[in-house]
Subunit: 174 residues, 2 copies
Amino acid sequence: MPTPPRTSIDAIVSASRAILESHGLPGLTMQAVAQAVGVRAPSLYKHVADRDALVTLVADAAARDLAAHLPATEDLRGLAHGLRAWAAERPESYRLVFSGHGSLEVMAATSMPVVTLGRTLGGEAHALDAARLITAWVTGFISMELAGAFQLGGDVEAAFEYGIERLTSALSAN
Amino acid sequence: MPTPPRTSIDAIVSASRAILESHGLPGLTMQAVAQAVGVRAPSLYKHVADRDALVTLVADAAARDLAAHLPATEDLRGLAHGLRAWAAERPESYRLVFSGHGSLEVMAATSMPVVTLGRTLGGEAHALDAARLITAWVTGFISMELAGAFQLGGDVEAAFEYGIERLTSALSAN
DNA sequence: ACCTGAACACCGTTCAAGT
DNA sequence: ACCTGAACACCGTTCAAGT
């Protein structure tokens, strides 16, 4: 006797993203998600293989959301501030995306704009090297900030600007 | 009737570090630690408040081990390669230390050598800014490497060297 | 064809009882 | 004074039974 589904993969991922932000990754339990979409935990396994697969779907959805929010810019400042603003609003999503929980395909696709920027700043021969320098610095900085690693005082905003300025000039100087 | 302890906090932390590296943070269960030190899980609570406190002790022990392994160097290349080599040998410890699981005191103490390097490269006025640029880049790079984020081909070793070279010249140019 | 309750193996944690 | 078994509340996951 066929019955229509009472939930959907979209509703599950959407509810999961909200739970992730409000309760962190440990709070993203199958039971919490099930309750949010109005179903019992075992029913989720009709739509998703297991919790790990769900976490990957959430990470990929967050990565796509990030890509849509980043300004189409040609300068490091715009990209850096865009990423930092997105991370400040969705810290748990940021952590998930940059902790390697996403799929390799989505991670590669999301990094294309940075390679373009790397080409602009570093030149054709060092496009990838420059993109990796930029990405490592900006994701490292934001991760440290979210982890509360800046304990030695000083102006964190100024340190971010300092990084943007020094990296821009370092990459332009061929 | 007093009885001597059958284990110790040192044995617990030491066993925990080995379990962390071999089975990851999810594998670091109270039961696994208890078995490793020859005791039942409830006994661990005589030595540690709860699992979170144990994880913090492990992170701090790893951070101290890292500080002891870093070369006392005045150049970025030595520091960067030293950190990367340590991370390659103890990837789970590296992740734990730089994910904010450690205590703030140990994190601050461990970052002192980088501030010294920042002063050498960036000058007195920008010692902290330079230290944060360096730390953000090198930890970001290694985190990406461990997360398998370098999927676009190219030479990762060369990208690391490129970062060292560009950062060194960017910071020296006052 | 999907949803459910019941069940299983695992967690972290508490606590009265043993020595 | 430390260790233990038993217990509790919680996980993820499976599966036969319902509709």
